[in-house]
């Protein structure tokens, strides 16, 4: 296996090719529903890639990533709302208006999510294990209730995005174009993750997961390493949230709910914790089950539960582990 591609690389490449082929074929057959389905997979996979950085590589079991996903969604929604109304988000001390530009939305999402994640992480990372899970959940619930209590932005009903935020070139309202945008960002996030994990920072992060005592003893304080990873992870998930709101033309508190945190976690676990393409495999399987089994029965989550159980009990490397074999470490 020293020459050519490893089995995992082949599996990863096939997944990417499949995800690219599906909407192209669907568009050719004039089936826009499947284009939108593939877009969902790409976006949710992106959210999972974000969580995987914290959970898979850093061992930080965040049960609050919906907070970042939803924040991204609300940035997209609120920006579009003010752009549509031609009103201002803030008038004092300076004026901040809305925006219908995706690039602006993403930049603001990254900044807002990074700040919130920095605050949440700085508090949460002082705990570990089950306390960390609970405290991240608690923060996410706080943001959830904050969103519900904002009548300007729809409160419990959420906020519709009447016009999808725009690209500097191309028409983002065109389903296939929007798919390419999401797919491109997924590729970018995968690439950045791969580089990060293989870098010095990645080595330190993984050591923090395996043995924090050892990391500190070598002279690297674990806290800043984990906090950095947590913030990066949140930003990726936040961008996914912004895309998700634009895809659906809607953002509501459900994007911030703990169910959503659980779902993102399921993508990662289903696909393979700490496997680069795990979230993509997991999100794809999740959406397939939801759409196709969900088409037959409302109880599709029973099947999901059984699959999840099987993965946790028998295939610790998740789907990727099943397809590509055990992870090899260097």
């Amino acid at each position: 296996m020293t020459n050519g591609l490893s089995r995992e690389q082949v599996v990863n490449g096939s997944l990417l090719a499949l995800l690219l082929a599906a909407p192209l074929i669907a568009a050719a057959l004039d089936e826009p529903f499947y284009v939108s389905l593939a877009t969902r997979v790409a976006i949710l996979a992106l959210a999972g890639v974000g969580l995987n950085l914290a959970l898979g590589y850093g061992g930080m079991v965040s049960f609050g990533h919906a907070a970042f996903f939803g924040l991204g969604g609300y940035v997209a929604g609120i920006a579009a709302f003010h752009a549509f109304e031609e009103s201002a988000f803030l008038t004092w001390p300076f004026t901040i208006g809305g925006s219908d530009q995706l690039l602006v939305v993403w930049t603001v999402t990254a900044l807002v999510v990074a700040l919130v994640a920095l605050a949440i992480g700085a508090v949460s990372l002082r705990t570990s294990g089950v306390y960390f899970i609970m405290i991240t959940l608690a923060f996410a619930q706080m943001i959830y209730y904050l969103a519900i209590s904002l009548p300007t932005y729809g409160g419990e009903d959420g906020l519709s995005i009447y016009l999808r935020n725009q690209l500097p070139m191309g028409d983002s309202a065109e389903p296939l174009t929007f798919f390419f945008v999401c797919y491109g960002l997924l590729l970018l996030a995968l690439f950045v993750s791969a580089r990060l994990v293989a870098s010095r920072f990645g080595a330190a992060l993984q050591c923090a997961r395996m043995n924090e005592v050892r990391l500190a003893t070598l002279g690297i304080a674990p806290f800043p390493v984990k906090l950095t990873a947590f913030v990066l992870s949140a930003v990726i998930t936040g961008i996914a949230g912004a895309l998700f709101a634009d895809l659906n033309g809607f953002v509501g508190p459900s994007m911030l709910s703990w169910h959503r945190s659980g779902e993102i976690m399921i993508f990662v676990i289903l696909g393979g914790v700490g496997r680069l393409f795990g979230p993509l495999a997991g999100a794809a399987l999740f959406i397939l089950l939801e759409s196709f089994v969900g088409g037959f029965t409302d109880r599709w989550q029973l099947i999901l539960g059984a699959v999840l159980l099987a993965v946790v009990l028998f295939a610790r490397g998740g789907l990727i582990g099943l397809l590509a074999g055990k992870l090899r470490h260097g």
Binding site: R200, F201, R214, L218, A221
Partner: protein, 249 residues
């Protein structure tokens, strides 16, 4: 007298009513092996935890290389030049031996910084890591995951990790534990060559190794140092015999 690498002054730590560490004074000079012995429950672990930075003492001072260190974190003390090994091997278990040493080397250079270049492709880092592994005789086992290393090999890897930091002083917590007579002899010989490079505070239960290696021995009983001096003096001390060597013999 040369400036001590490590100086403890009146170090005290209590857990409730238990004085695990009761006004301990201790110094480690450059080029020496200072052994710390004591029966189980004497407070050795508490003392080590305070020196390494895991426990904050209730009272007293710690200075590393002449600088006050009580307020420093574990990582900061390591960067000042404190290398240590653990009584029970504590390694990054999913990495190879090489991966572990590489991490130690990168820690010495610029910590976790470096977000883009693949660390495995850094040839200089790899060569340096192999050189460190060679010092403890593990170069052949470099690519082996830590989980498949033998107990003895893990003990040696612990020492290699401490050495990779180019420490000014070493805190070795029962390095001989579970090594067997052969391994103990080899490590004893190795530590003797090491002391010129870094002073060693050695906590060890193997009395043969302690008396063969130590320039000075301090005896800790119930959180207090009851005797401190050259090995011969300790061997002759009646108090030590009664408190410790007596029940070992």
């Amino acid at each position: 007298m040369a400036e001590p690498l490590l100086e403890l002054n009146g170090l005290s730590k209590s857990f409730g009513a238990l004085k695990a560490c009761d006004g301990v004074d201790l110094t480690l000079l450059p080029g020496e092996i200072h052994a710390l012995i004591g029966p189980n429950g004497a407070g050795k672990s508490t003392l080590i935890a305070q020196v390494a930075g895991w426990l904050r003492p209730d009272a007293g001072a710690i200075s590393l290389l002449g600088q006050p260190a009580v307020h420093l974190s574990v990582a900061a003390r390591a960067r000042r030049g404190l290398g240590r090994t653990f009584q029970i091997s504590s390694l990054a278990s999913e990495f190879s031996a090489l991966g572990n040493v590489r991490l130690a080397l990168q820690a010495r250079e610029r910590g976790a910084f470096g977000f883009w270049s693949p660390v495995r492709k850094d040839r200089r880092l790899r060569e340096e890591a192999l050189a460190v592994l060679a010092r403890v005789g593990l170069e052949e086992r470099a690519e082996v995951p830590v989980t498949t290393l033998s107990h003895g090999e893990r003990r040696l890897l612990e020492v290699a990790l401490a050495l990779a930091l180019r420490p000014k002083l070493l805190l070795l917590d029962e390095p001989m534990a579970g090594l067997g007579p052969e391994g103990t002899r080899a490590l004893t010989a190795f530590l003797r060559t090491l002391k010129a490079e870094a002073g060693i505070l050695l906590v060890e239960h193997d009395m043969d190794a302690v008396f063969a290696l130590a320039d000075r021995i301090s005896v800790l009983v119930y959180g207090r140092i009851i005797a401190s001096g050259p090995p011969e003096e300790i061997r002759r001390s009646a108090a030590v015999r009664e408190a410790y060597l007596g029940d070992a013999a």
